[in-house]
Each structure stands twice: as C-alpha cells, then as structure tokens.
Symmetry: D2
Subunit: 277 residues, 4 copies
C-alpha cells in the first residue's frame, strides 16, 4: 500500500507541504500511522504543473523518499500551484521507475493507494480492456497503472467521475467473474492540471483512509496564532492519505464511497457508485 498527497492553491515551494509539516509525507515514508505498512520505501514520485509547459513534470525514483537528495532539491527550489506526491509500499510488484506514481498521460496525472485483489488472476483480462491504441504505452506492471489506462479508455478526458466509475465497475465485474469477493480497494487522485478529483471506494465498504483539509479562512479564525495559516492562500486545499499534523479542525475524512472535486469556486463532494460496464 502507499500514501499520497495532492495540493492545490497559491504557488508554494514543494518543501512547505512535503517536508515542513510535523507528520509530513516524508515522515510518513518512515512512520505511517494509518497505512497498512508503517514504511513506504519502495519508490516515490512527485508531479507538478508549471505555467510554461503543457504537461506536468514528474520526478520518480526507486529508492525511499526520505533519503533522496534530488527530491530534497526539487522541494527546495520548485514552486507550484498544483502538485501530487506519492510514496510507495510495494505488495510484490517490481520496484522500478515505471511502477512509481504519479502516472502521466498528456496533461493528466493519476495516483493510487490500494489494490486490485488477486491482480495476477485479473491482469490479463483487465489489460485487454484497455484501448488497443494505448496498450503499448503501459510501461509498468502495477494494478494502479492499468486502472489509469482503463479510466482513460472509458473517457477520463470527457467526464472523469464517470470514467472512474466505469473503471471501478469493470474491475468489480471481472473480479467477481473470477471468484474474487472484494475486487477493489482504492483511494485515487486524478487531475488535468486545473481540477483534482479524489475518490475513496472499496468493494467491501472498508476503504483506506482519505482526508481533505478545511477551508483556510475558517482555520485561521480557529487558530489565529498558527503562522502557516496566515501565509496560506484561501484557496489552499490538500487531500491526503493521512493528516499531516494534528491541528484540531484541520482535517475532514472523505466519507466511504465518495469523490470530491477541488476546483476554482466551490469544491464538491458526491457519492461514488461504480458503474457496471
């Protein structure tokens, strides 16, 4: 399993979010408290958008995040208003760059915590449902990447929640055809650089943890003495596998079978229902 974080807001140094918080994602790479594993040391990735380029930049590597100097450098020198970060705990698949999140396709980025149960049984059939024109672009061997390619196949570009619902429904259908009782366990974030969609779902109704941050203006009133909040922009929104600290009122659990949208204007929470595809 893994841990991840998505940031949207005024441009900040990645360091502010990745390293500075008390229970930062880097700390979680060694001492996750809500994950399946305390250690998430089987590779990492960060992906960020810049004003200059049509696609996000990614830095991914196969060692642990906590001792990676290139990640430290990027965090100290790069600002972004929308970025993803992910630390991996492999459940057996190879530790290689192409298995590190976030995955990218054009302007899109995708990252995942969870798994497809008995993926080795389902891998072939699921991969066959990927658009044949995209098949050769699959570079790694994770369930997460296949889920991404299925979502693209099912229209991620047009309607992300519907595409992810069809992907989830497909995984459940194929899984159940192979006798897998609870085929899907996922918290997923996906973005096109403007909006972020975050999903919490599992076939068993017992999903991995997922939280979103409270409105900064409310938090500021609650904690007038917290310096970080004075500097943070009102539009700041974080979605995280586990809270980055213990500031009262700062974190809200994403309910089971729910997805949220972080976007200009009001954010949204909606029920998530896999669509039998």
């Amino acid at each position: 399993m893994c841990r991840w974080l998505a940031y949207s807001g005024a441009p900040v140094l990645l360091d502010t979010i990745l390293y500075k918080p008390k229970h930062s994602l880097i700390d979680q790479s060694l001492h996750s408290t809500m994950g399946v594993e305390t250690t998430n040391g089987d590779g990492f990735g960060v992906g960020w958008y810049t004003p200059d380029a049509n696609t996000p930049a990614t830095l991914r590597d196969i060692g642990p995040a906590w001792n990676n100097r290139n990640l430290r450098e990027i965090a100290d020198h790069v600002r972004s208003s929308l970025f993803f970060a992910h630390i991996r705990a492999s459940t057996g698949t190879a530790v290689q760059q192409t298995n590190c999140h976030p995955f990218r396709h054009g302007r899109w980025m995708w990252m995942h915590n969870g798994s497809i149960a008995d993926f080795h049984l389902l891998r072939r059939e699921l991969t066959l449902l990927v658009d044949p024109a995209l098949y050769a672009d699959i570079e790694g061997t994770t369930d997460s990447e296949v889920m991404f390619f299925l979502a693209i196949t099912f229209g991620l570009d047009q309607d992300p929640p519907a595409a992810v619902a069809r992907m989830a429904g497909t995984v459940e259908r194929i899984g159940r055809e192979h006798g897998v009782e609870f085929p899907l366990q996922m918290t997923v974030a996906v973005t096109d650089g403007d909006r972020i969609w975050a999903f919490r779902y599992s076939s068993q109704g017992n999903s991995r943890s997922l939280f979103y941050s409270s409105r900064v203006d409310s938090l500021r009133k609650l904690h007038p003495d917290v310096a970080f909040l004075q500097e943070a922009s009102d539009e700041t929104r974080l979605i995280v596998s586990e809270p980055l600290g213990d500031l009262p009122g700062a974190w809200n659990e994403v309910p089971e079978s729910t997805y949220g949208v972080v976007q200009p204007g009001a954010d949204e929470l909606h029920p998530f229902v896999p669509e039998p595809a």
Copy 2:
C-alpha cells in the same frame, strides 16, 4: 541492440571470461565494434548455474556493466560451468531491472540481441498469444521477454528449436499482418542448465553477428604458447555476439538462419526455419 555471451565448459571464475579477454564483454560495453551502437550501457545481467540450486542465479542491474562493483565482485568470486552474460543498449524501452537479460523461468534462461520491428504496433497481439497462465509473470516491457514467453508457450520445455521456430514464425506472421516487412531480427541464446541453444536469424536474412569458439584441442595445437588455452578444458565452448579477441582460428561465424546446440558430446549446427504458427 545489445551484446551477449554464453559459456559452457569446466567451472571457471566468471572473471576469466567476462573481464580478462582483450575485447571482453565489459570492454564491449564501452567499445563494441560490431554492434549497432558502440556503447551498451543501459543495464546488464549475468546468470549462472551452481550445483546446489534448481534454478540459475542472476545478477541484473540498471547501470552500465563497466562500472558496476557488484558484477566485479561476483566475477571475482563465483565459478560456474555454464553462464550467460548480457549488456543492454535500449532502443527506447525503460531502463529497469525487469528489462535486463537474461530472463529466467524455472530452470530456463533466455537472452536476446535484436528486436521485433515496430514492436509497439505488435506488442498487444503478441502478448495475447502468451499462455494466459503465464501472462501475469511478464514483468518487463521488452520484445525480448515476450519472445521468451512465446517460446515457453510453444513448448520450450519439450523441444527448444521447435518452440523458437514457432515463436519466430508467429512474430513474422503477426508482423506481416500489420504491414511490417521484416518483423524479426534476433540472435538468441537459451539454456536449461545442461544444453545451450543459440539462434541466428532475421526476416531480412541480414542478422546481427554471432560467433562460436573453436575446439580447444585444435586451438591448443595452433597456439601452443597461449597460456589460457593450456588451462581451458576441452569442452570449453563460447558463443558470443562478437569475438573476445583476435586469436586466429578461434572464432567461427554462426551462419545465417542457423542454430547451434552446445551439449555433452558433439555440438551441432542446424538450419533454422521459422514455422508458420
């Protein structure tokens, strides 16, 4: 493209074959003279059999062979009577351990120099022909690994030359169905730990170079002053992408569309004809 080497004979330190020769495989990683690229620095692998284990051991890594200290250590301390070594020059697929040769399946090892033309066009269809029970064992993204799994699917365990012929015939058929004129270019070595089969073939009839070493007893008469030959066992046989030195009479080209068998008793050379499958 790549370079490779297969050794069979009395147990020797890997160093004797991998590093010591004047134009050793390690030298070829920097200065290949007959390869498509002079540099083969996109990963390497070595696989060897030991009396103790049912499967060969492999050491594979993503950096260049020439500066790898673990390879140097293994070469200085491990003896084997049958081993493969491979240095990789990627034609675009990811540089990751699971794309490094030799590939292993049970007792079998496989390594390849060459390529399936327009593999991105053919990858999906070829992969679908792999035995579904084996599909989930494919860990990398190379044409070479798919060729191996096709050969296993087509009966490598029972009749290696026939299985490789069906693999080659299948690649050519699928390739031509997609309008690829010359789908296959290969020199392949495969072994079960007892015998080595080496294939030289290309759809165009213009295959990458492949050589086998002359009988040591003949060479010894020809070069009574070459110390290495005095020590080498009579059964020593090397198959190489390019000669390890320029000793007159030491190297023989494997003819086009031919495969050889290195085995206890007399070695063999046979025509190789892909079998339309």
Copy 3:
C-alpha cells in the same frame, strides 16, 4: 543506526540465515524492535568467504534490503561458512555504496552499529591518524569506515582486540579533547575469514544491543522438535544486533564492555577496555 549479523558454521545457503528466520535481518530492515530506528533502509551489504578466493566477496547496494532482488538471488544460490550482513539506517551521511557495510581490506571485513558522537567535529583529526599510506583507500564518509582504517593502522592484522582497543581509546581521547562527553557508541564485528571478533562498547556504558547464539548441541536437547536445529552444525555461531526469533534459551546478551571471539575450538568472551593511545 543499523542492524547486523555474523554467521560462522557449516556452509549454509545465505537464505537460511538472512531470510528464513521469523525475525530475520530482512524483517529487521522494516521492523527492527531493538534498534534506534524501526526502519533500516539506507543501503545494505553482505560479505562472504568462498574456498576459491583470497578475499571475501561483497554485495552492497544503496536501496533497502527488503526489496533488493540481487540480494535475494545471492541468498538463494550462495553457500558460505562465514559471512556478514548489514542493514543501514543513515544518520545523515550520504546513501552511497561506499558507505555500506561490510567494509573490506584484503582478507578483512568490518561492520558497525553505533556512531562517533559529533563526528563532523572529529572527522578531520581522526582521519589524519590513519596511516598515510592507507588514506587514499578511504572511499566513503562514514565514521564506521574511519574506525576500520584506524584499527588497521593500529595493528588489526597482528592483534585485533588490541587494535580495536587502541582505535576506541583514540576516538575517546580526540572526542574529549573536543568537549564530547561520550564520544563512542559501537557494536563492531571484524573477521579475517577464520575467526570473528565482536565488540560491544560505549563511552557511556549504555551500548546498543548485541547477542550471540547458544551452543547448538545444548539447544537441540532443549528443543528436540525444532527442525532447523537438527540440521545445524555443532559449530554454528551467530552474533546479531537483535535475536532472529524467540526460541527460549537460544540467545545470550554480550555483556557491556565485552568482546567475543568465534573460532575453531572454544569461543571466548573477554572484557573490552579502550586503550589510551
């Protein structure tokens, strides 16, 4: 800090000791229970002697041990009657191969858990005390490697316990000259391939944990049903940072300020007193 293990006995597959035990060193790389850190993921090393070579072979790499495939391969295929293994948790120095234990010099291997306090203050002066002829052989930046080179300088080849005592005395002297109250914290293992010396010492008298295994013949009587013990040779001896399991009677703590010698014939335990040098 780190965890380590030294094995001496009848030749065994490294796997038997490295992976098989319930709380193996590989398990300790993720879930150390007695170490300063639960995670030891900043590189690893294994070094083993073979009958063929004058020096031990080492495999060292910068990623975590728990996901390293080359280590898994070596463990599954190499037998040795004397080997060291080490997993690293860096306290800030670079994660690089030259900082991974065991360190080697000729026939000697050295590994360490602990640290020289305020090493950055003492590094220059300590390094200057290394034999100038050896200075250029220092390849990494750890306190552990400097301790090894000091021990070599002080006669490791002639009298290992005396050389280590002089090293420890020197570190304490230089440390105290710089106002460091407790300069040294160490559990060290060193071997020439025939004998192993293991040291437990700290300036504060509060050393990191160290254990040695009980005599196999006694354990066999105590646990007639434990299969592993039936197979293990009588001379089997393990020295470990923390026990590999919870078999009653199997593990004995090395006392504070003590060193042990594992050798043909009776093993020994002696007081360890740094020698003011």
Copy 4:
C-alpha cells in the same frame, strides 16, 4: 575525463541547450568526439538558479545522462538564465552521487574536466590544506571536489580568479614535491549565480578542449536563416567542452592558460597563471 557546459543568457528551457543541439551534451555522453573517452556514462549533474532561492538547485545521479528520465523531465519543464551541466567519465573513483558535478557550496557551483595526476599520492596532503572548518563538508572522493574546497579556502568568495590561481599553484607545488611532473590538467567553471568564470589550464600546456560561443548579434548577421539565433537573447553565452554543433563562426577556442568571465556587460578573457602558494 568528462564533458561540461555552462549557459548564461535569457531564461530558456534547459532542453533547448541540453538536448536540442545536434551534438548536444546528451549526445556527447554517448559520442564525445574531443574527449579522452567517447563515452561519458558514469553519472551526471545539472545545476540551475531560480529567482526564488538563495542557492542553486541540483539534480545529480549515478547512471548515464542519456537514459535518465528525471533529467529529461527537468529539461522539459525548468527554465533558467544560468545553469551548469556535466557528464562524467570516471577514471576509477566511485560512481556515486557525491562524486557527480556540479558541486555546490552556498551560492557557488563548480564543475571540472581533467584530473590531478597521481591524485592517490597527493590526496591526503591536499585535503589537509582545506580549511579545517570545511573538511567535514567534503562528501565525495574526487580530485575535482578537493580543488573546489581548496579554492573556497583560498578566497573564492572574494576573488575567484586569484583563489583558483592559488589552488592551481598549490596542486602543482604539492605534486612536484611528490615527483609528479605535470600535476594539473583542468577546465573548470565556477559561478556565484551572477557571473561565470571559466578556466583552461594544464601544467603541461596541453589542456583539454574548451570553447565559448560567439556574440549572438554577430552570428545572427552571419546566419540570418538559423531560427534558433533569431530567438536567442543577445546576452546568450555558452562555454562548452566541445562545440554543440558545427555552425561556422559560432565557437571560439579558449586559449591555453586563459580564463574568461561571463558577466553583465562585456565579457573578458585574461591570462591564467597559477600562483605559488
């Protein structure tokens, strides 16, 4: 030996300089034509300044530049008005991140092609001349890093050409005291983020190649049809180990025993004379 490149001018995507030119630095990593080695695959580094930070960012890794995806990402997404890039061919020292150029100290970056002859003989004595307060900051084992720390010790912050002259004079003095006829061979670039100083010198008067680019306004008149020149800013200046292409008039050799200064206003060339220190 190595190859390097320094860029100063209007902010550009690193890609424009690192990958786009016909004989780019990335191409030189495989096919250097003027270097001692054709292959420079023992690690790489890039360092760039951004408006936000007090220190330059660096990305350094131990594999070859030509297949590194993180370098490709940074090049595609980062703009800078002053950056260094370096590809390494080790002459035996370890391939590790801390041996990769550019080296950084505060705002300063340093990179080097060449070597101190018989460095193993001189390493200890030269390192002892480094300011003791800086000694513990030396992280690698290259001659290049020791040269950097000597230059810092000798006042790089106050007067870069004088500090480098004292460094060079010191290396020559210590070298000759040890019987080394030609102790120093170097092309060095150093920057504080505002100006770049580039040095070409060797004890033998036979230095490695070094070139600087012509004024863009002159080149534009000479080649009105070259699109790149229309877009390049007038202040664009490149200093390179070997030309990035064969545009007539574009490249000028830095003379032997000379250093240049790239700065706002007119650039300068001056004789370089090591100062006996």
